[in-house]
Subunit: 493 residues, 2 copies
């Protein structure tokens, strides 16, 4: 399962002094989790056998077993009979249970602190882990219109692996309107953007293939590439895209595929300019690499009167740019509809592959997305108005309560990328959990356990909730500043 | 991509005498397709370079290029730059375009024959490739009820990787009612049964792992296993399950996973008895293998008063039986909802994995499935009444027009498995296409290119359409009988 391995002795050294708390297994689990979270213990590293770690730590094997069990429950360790256990990251938790009011937030540092493992997600807990909004106002009308269309389909088998022709036409028209002439047979409807990227990696990435990723980038994209055994080639984009550097890395690493979020980048919110777009497509051409452009956030510009750069595909002559689109952020995540734009032959191969993976996408959801896309200007206007207000509320609160943090105000997307000025994001995330805020630390967005001075702050919740969240983050940050890391950072294994 | 390779000389020998038609590339493509279809050229075999095959056949390289292109278009060949080309099977075509009336079928052998590649699927063409029905009568009511519930969810992000709690409860209750106590945290909602099986193979099957499959079995299950690089261990079930043989193979092949459709088997329609179920679970236990029970057809018994055997999971003590359920056949395929029942820890791991594959399943579809499952007895009664009438019409037509074919009348499911008495299923399928019927030949359901004397005949279309289909099949069969295979079967490479 994994080629990396850490011995009992090595892991004991990495752990340093585990606090002698009771139960000890919980402390041990927490410390291992910290090593995984801040990247000192690389992902998919095979863990030592329980008796080896027990011996190295001088504790009973039962204690190690209990710690591994806890880590497995939390998703930081995966195991398989016969293959041992290895480190992992639990995915960002997102919930679709009946929409809970985020309550008017009780005094943040009042009544009691929440233990991280048992943080009550009702009772005032604020989840900044999830950067995705509810459905737009016209949703109900779109559902009604789609439902009225449904009987035209429900008498048949309901499978269309490429997607409903009616939806593909609307999607193709959308690209044409943005200056990229597109035929419906170039579109494959998928079950969301993540599904689209998973399909692409299954078709185009084999074990050991070099794949360029931005650092930071969308964590689930990294997950999909890791599962394919890709060799990740990260390029830093914290300060924007350095095309000279990117072109050089692409050539030198013999990159086969590059994954980019050029339109309101996740998580930095940056928008790539047209010159850089032309240069990026040219670099891909020179390196003979495919370029996957994730446009999940492309329609979420905050100023609808601002000129939009042409899509990356507009700079492409040779079918080298593959575009991913998604209903999840613009329309609604609960719809599970995304799509891929590619050349017609590639689209056909994707259809064959997707059919063997999950057959087809849901018909009613496709009809709803079609209705919403036909009125996409209304949706964009609503999103822009809401997001600008929330972005500004978040930014104002940060400037007031956490004046040391630095950020660039995004012109689109749904999240703000804050630089803390100190490599404490993971510690801050843990402390914030106790103060009733969930926040995702920078390293989760990196391919290699860096970015410890960054956190992603989505602004999809209402302004007052965001203000309370920032108050709590400020309190957590003061705590982290006051109690610097107790253990020295041991050597990287 | 593939470990098998066929040289230009070997392929030329396999092809034998390619008819000298014009354009020659089309004849060449057709003959290669035939080799793939009847299994003489194994799937995922790497094809020779174009110039090598051109040399071996004594034709121009352009001709071979054109033939490969044609095969690629048809899905019988896949290619990737740098990795060459290899054999593949196009998946069964199924369409969800607005339900077309299957017309009152023009005289079957009249006006003109349809070329296979250009068979007009409107104009009286009958598709027996697709064994899946339209939605049940109460569908519209269920959609209305689900739509009314939707606002409770559409204000939130819409992601629930495990599935909506409300749906998982109803599914768990359904198992409990069948004698298998189940908690909702043992259920993972997926995007259809194929997606469920794909997830399971991704979690449990690595390259080279031995996986037992029934022969015949569901083709897309074979596809998912092949993509994982599984070593397939087929056991024949044409005459039912031989548990002694199965138990022996499981042990000897060190099978890690076994895939079974014990409830109205696809494609044979057989139902496994309780003794065999107990023995199968026991064999899996002894072999230390997991058993994946695909219950896609389990609720589609034709006689609702007949006693139902207990689910395979009822015979399981150790979390060894993993059950797949699906809305596609019982409810509607256009919903794209399936599920997995497993132990709670395994379910949790599946949730983490599925989140990285496609995040979650669509909310509205889950709500619709919940409404339909709450009234599942009505749906089952409707399905049974319809399917019995269609099965009987199909059987009567077969007895009349094709008295030499043999079959066992299924007690459930949606298709009949006919034995032709001669290994001509692929030829029959090609001829039937010219007569305006699409039928899937036996080898598609086999792991290793056998079953040439079988075809699957779904009975989801109306009785008069089925009767016309059988008339056309009979005509095609007469043609195939009259013109025996022109080329001798060459040796298997």
């Amino acid at each position: 399962m994994s080629t990396r391995y850490v011995s009992g002795v090595q892991l004991a050294r990495l752990l340093g002094e585990v606090p002698h708390e009771r139960p000890f297994y919980a402390a041990l689990a927490r410390e291992v989790r910290a090593l995984v979270l801040d990247g000192r213990l690389a992902l998919r590293t095979r863990l030592p056998a329980e008796r080896d770690l027990a011996g190295a730590l001088g504790v009973s094997r039962t204690t190690v077993t209990a710690a591994y069990d806890r880590l497995r429950d939390e998703g930081f360790v995966e195991s398989r009979q016969g293959a041992g256990s290895w480190t992992a990251l639990p995915p960002t938790k997102m919930t679709a249970s009946p929409a809970r009011e985020v309550p008017s937030v009780s005094p943040p540092f009042g009544a009691g602190r929440f233990g991280m493992a048992h943080a009550p997600e009702g009772a005032g807990f604020i989840d900044l882990g999830c950067a995705t909004p509810g459905a737009p106002r016209i949703f109900e009308e779109a559902v009604a219109a789609a439902t009225a269309e449904l009987p035209r389909y429900s008498g048949g088998p309901g499978y269309e692996p490429a997607g409903l022709a009616e939806l593909r036409e609307v999607i193709a028209d959308g690209y044409a309107a943005r200056g990229v002439p597109t035929r419906p047979d170039q579109i494959v409807v998928t079950t969301g953007a993540q599904h689209a990227f998973t399909l692409l990696t299954q078709m185009m990435v084999d074990t050991g293939d070099a794949v360029m990723v931005e650092r930071p980038t969308y964590p689930h994209a990294l997950g999909a590439l890791r599962r394919r055994g890709a060799r990740l080639v990260p390029v830093g984009v914290n300060e924007g895209w350095d095309l000279e550097l990117i072109a050089g890395s692409m050539r030198q690493a013999a990159v086969r595929l590059a994954y980019t979020v050029a339109d309101f980048h996740n998580p930095t919110g940056r928008l790539m300019g047209e010159d850089d777009r032309a240069a990026l497509v040219d670099a891909a051409r020179r390196a003979d690499a495919f370029l996957v452009a994730d446009e999940t956030f492309a329609e979420l510009g905050h100023d609808l009167s601002a000129p939009r750069p042409a899509p990356l595909a507009a700079f492409d002559q040779g079918g080298r740019v593959i575009t991913i689109g998604s209903a999840s952020k613009l329309l609604w995540g609960g719809l599970r509809i995304g799509w891929i734009r590619a050349t017609a032959p590639l689209a056909r191969r994707l259809v064959l592959l997707r059919e063997a993976v999950d057959m087809a996408s849901p018909v009613l959801d496709q009809l709803i997305v079609r209705e919403l896309l036909l009125r996409v200007d209304e949706v964009r206007a609503e999103r822009a108005a809401t997001l600008v207000a929330r972005r500004d509320a978040l930014a104002a609160a940060l400037r007031e309560d956490l004046p040391g943090w630095r950020f660039t105000l995004p012109d689109g997307g749904m999240s703000l990328w804050a630089r803390l000025g100190a490599p404490v994001a993971t510690l801050l995330s843990e402390a914030a959990g106790r103060y009733g805020v969930r926040v995702v630390p920078g390293p989760v967005f990196g391919a290699d356990g860096v970015l410890e001075d960054c956190v992603r702050l989505p602004y999809v919740l209402p302004p007052d909730v965001l203000r309370t969240a920032v108050e709590r983050l400020a309190a957590a940050y003061r705590e982290v500043e006051a109690a610097p890391v107790a253990r020295p950072l041991p050597a990287y294994v």
